[in-house]
């Protein structure tokens, strides 16, 4: 990644969950850290999120769910991106996600999962480090 390129992040709420305090706080923090942030709003299907990520040329997609539907929804976003031939988007997840579920989510292409109490600074650092280290990263 070159220093000039501004990181574009898509924050998304898949499924029917209406809890958006966390996703909005993170959106502001990423914006304040100099990233370009797009928030989908509530009730997005995995297909809608994949489309938006591609249309918006996102470098990162962050999925938020506190309703327990993450095992169903998160992998479908990662799979949808793969099916569209997109391999360079960093897909992350957050919300109320039991530790036991994390290995399978990572297996499915969710690179990291952050839970309650995570500081926004931790997330910003993670994004910067992992985009910088990505092969052919932008």
């Amino acid at each position: 990644m070159t220093q000039e390129k501004i990181i574009r992040v898509l924050l998304a709420k898949p499924g029917l969950d209406g809890h958006d305090r966390g996703v909005k706080v993170i959106a502001r923090a990423l914006r304040d850290a100099g990233m370009e942030v797009i928030y989908t709003g509530l009730r997005q299907t995995p297909e809608q999120i994949v489309n938006t990520a591609i249309q918006e040329d996102a470098d990162v997609v962050m999925l938020s769910s506190l309703s327990g539907a993450h095992n169903h929804l998160f992998p479908r976003v990662a799979e949808g991106l793969r099916k569209r031939g997109v391999s360079d988007i960093l897909v992350m997840g957050g919300g109320i996600i039991p530790q036991d579920d994390v290995p399978a989510l990572k297996e499915a292409g969710i690179r990291e999962v952050f839970g309650p109490g995570t500081e926004t600074g931790t997330i910003i650092r993670y994004v910067r480090e992992h985009l910088a280290g990505q092969a052919g990263g932008r």
Binding site: K24, Y39, A69, D100, P116
Partner: protein
């Protein structure tokens, strides 16, 4: 509350005391530290009778059970009867939740509170594509009146009071509950309970909207009107600050937005032709009990007084019950930490104490494991026991409104009421709550507060024990509740049987009836009851309404 002579004497003594305090070297320096509540409201080092100089006891504080109800809505409060201990519960299928309900009743809980899953709350059947992965997760899956029958199997509907956290499809669940009772031979007049039915806060915090705001408000008014005539002991709305507080707003904003929404519902019902004293006694409220103990006690007292004054002075209520703010409280879910989760037992205990000191009518205490998963049975039991300890062991229930007369609590009560009223005035200058929601103003105000709080946590201005200080290495928690993955299949099977067994013609006719009424100004409750009795599903009934009203699209700003 003090005369001029006394004021002068205290003022002089205070001057001397301040000199003395300034000269003390032993005390730790306070310079540079802002003292404030968790909401960011400034806190003085000392409060004295001077802070209450303008207070008129009878006008502003008064006696419990009397206007303006600052000290509580009953004359003897918990000396007569404790608050209703009501744990919000629901997961999986109706069978699963029925078992949890019976367990809670056996454990001494005194009222039921139903958590519905998200498909139910946004009006989709469990086999709808958008429901995939969500059925039975955050609550119980209910598709038809048959499921509701299973949910309350073996529970006498004329003996329990039931609270249902349902908003967009509130009319459907009310129709189902009343129909179920009717089948059991229980007249609607014997039913006690509450539906949330508070649509306005869904657009700013909770997110289970279906229809655009204005038709949604028409449905709310239809429900309030129908209930006031048909189920007189049913609380037809629970005007909720809780979810806005969870979304990050401050105590003052919680009071301002909740009372602001309350005003909007009253105006909507008045416009629909109802008289204030016919429905206002059945309006109920719902607040958070957050972590700052005295701020919360003051908040509850301020909200009660503010509502009483508005009901009487602005809306001309004659029945004292119309001015009585009755409310449920839930401890603050957002205060629970995933780190060192047992500490949440303590947080919840302090929060519950503030709810009781503030004079709540019913209370839900969160389980310590809820930042991790749905609560386990053990965690739910500890949460309920917390309330029982406060009720039976702490002694705080022996006298009414024990913190009244505290210079600090009374001053804070005044400040919260005053600031909330000023906020409401500002919102009315913007055209009222509906306009302020449509323009995104309320959402932005809440987001600002949430972000400000997060900034304080990350800069360590605010300490969250176990999260940004006193952390430990800990193993991942065990014993978390997991919802069976088979709920979706179980519900799909029930729906298939239902669709086979009922009369498709009767359902189609009933749904047409809903569409027809939706296009007029007629009350929607009768055709919805007819549809429920024909065993139409929640998804079908909400689709019929979607056909006429369309759907709301949420915002994307942050």
């Amino acid at each position: 509350m003090i005369d001029q002579k006394e004021e002068a004497a205290i003022s002089a003594a205070r001057g001397k005391w301040e000199e003395e305090a300034a000269g003390q070297n032993g005390g730790a320096a306070e310079a540079g530290k802002p003292f404030e509540t968790i909401s960011g409201h400034p806190v003085e080092g000392l409060y004295t009778p001077q802070d209450l100089a303008g207070t008129d006891y009878l006008r502003d504080i008064g006696f419990p059970g009397q206007h303006p109800f600052t000290r509580g809505i009953q004359h003897n409060m918990y000396r007569g009867r404790f608050w209703t201990m009501r744990q919000y519960a629901g997961f999986g299928t109706a069978e699963d939740t029925n078992r949890r309900f019976r367990y809670l009743l056996e454990q001494g809980q005194t009222g039921l509170s139903v958590a519905f899953d998200l498909p139910t709350q946004v009006g989709y059947d469990s086999d709808h594509p958008l429901a995939a992965g969500e059925a039975g997760k955050v609550g119980v899956a209910i598709d038809s009146v048959r499921d509701l029958g299973t949910l309350f199997s073996g529970i006498p509907l004329d003996k329990v009071s039931t609270s249902m956290t349902i908003n967009s499809p509130a009319a459907v669940l009310t129709a189902m509950y009343v129909s179920l009772a009717e089948r059991a031979g229980i007249p609607p007049g014997d039913l006690r309970g509450t539906i949330q039915n508070d649509m306005l806060k869904e657009y700013v915090a909770r997110g289970t909207y279906i229809f655009p705001i204005r038709p949604a408000m028409r449905i709310v008014a239809d429900i309030i009107g129908w209930c006031s005539r048909t189920v007189p002991n049913w609380n037809s709305i629970s005007i909720s600050g809780y979810h806005m507080r969870e979304a990050g707003c401050t105590a003052i904003q919680e009071v301002a937005f909740t009372v602001g929404n309350g005003i909007t519902y009253v105006e909507t019902a008045l416009r629909a032709g109802l008289a204030i004293d016919d429905f206002a006694p059945r309006l109920s409220f719902f607040f958070s009990a957050h972590q700052d103990l005295f701020e919360e006690v003051a908040k509850f007292r301020a909200a009660r007084r503010l509502w009483a004054r508005i009901a009487k002075e602005r809306f001309g209520a004659k029945n004292p019950r119309s001015a009585m703010m009755r409310y449920h409280v839930q401890t603050a879910g957002c205060s629970l930490t995933a780190q060192q989760p047992f500490l949440n037992v303590l947080r919840t205990g302090f929060e519950a104490l503030s709810a009781v000191l503030g004079g709540c009518q019913s209370l839900h205490t969160n389980s310590y494991d809820e930042a991790l998963a749905l609560p386990s049975e053990e965690a739910v039991q500890i949460a309920l026991r917390t309330q029982q300890i406060i009720a039976h062991e702490t002694g705080v229930t022996g006298t009414v409104d024990p913190l009244a007369g505290s210079y600090y609590v009374e001053k804070m009560t005044d400040e919260i009421e005053e600031a909330a009223l000023a906020y409401i005035d500002r919102i009315e200058k913007r055209g009222g709550m509906i306009a302020a929601i449509e323009s995104g103003y309320i959402q932005e105000e809440i987001s600002n507060s949430a972000y400000e709080y997060q900034r304080k946590v990350e800069s360590r201005e605010r300490i969250v024990v176990g999260v940004n200080r006193y952390q430990i290495d800990e193993p991942p928690p065990t014993g978390l509740l997991r919802v069976r993955q088979t709920v979706e299949e179980a519900q799909a099977e029930k729906l298939e049987i239902l669709r086979r067994e009922r009369s498709a013609d009767a359902v189609a006719r009933a749904l047409d009836g809903i569409r027809r009424t939706a296009r007029t100004e007629g009350n929607l409750m009768p055709p919805i009851i007819a549809a429920v009795q024909a065993e139409a599903t929640i998804g079908e009934i909400c689709d019929a309404l979607r056909d006429v009203f369309g759907e709301y699209r949420g915002g994307t700003s942050f």
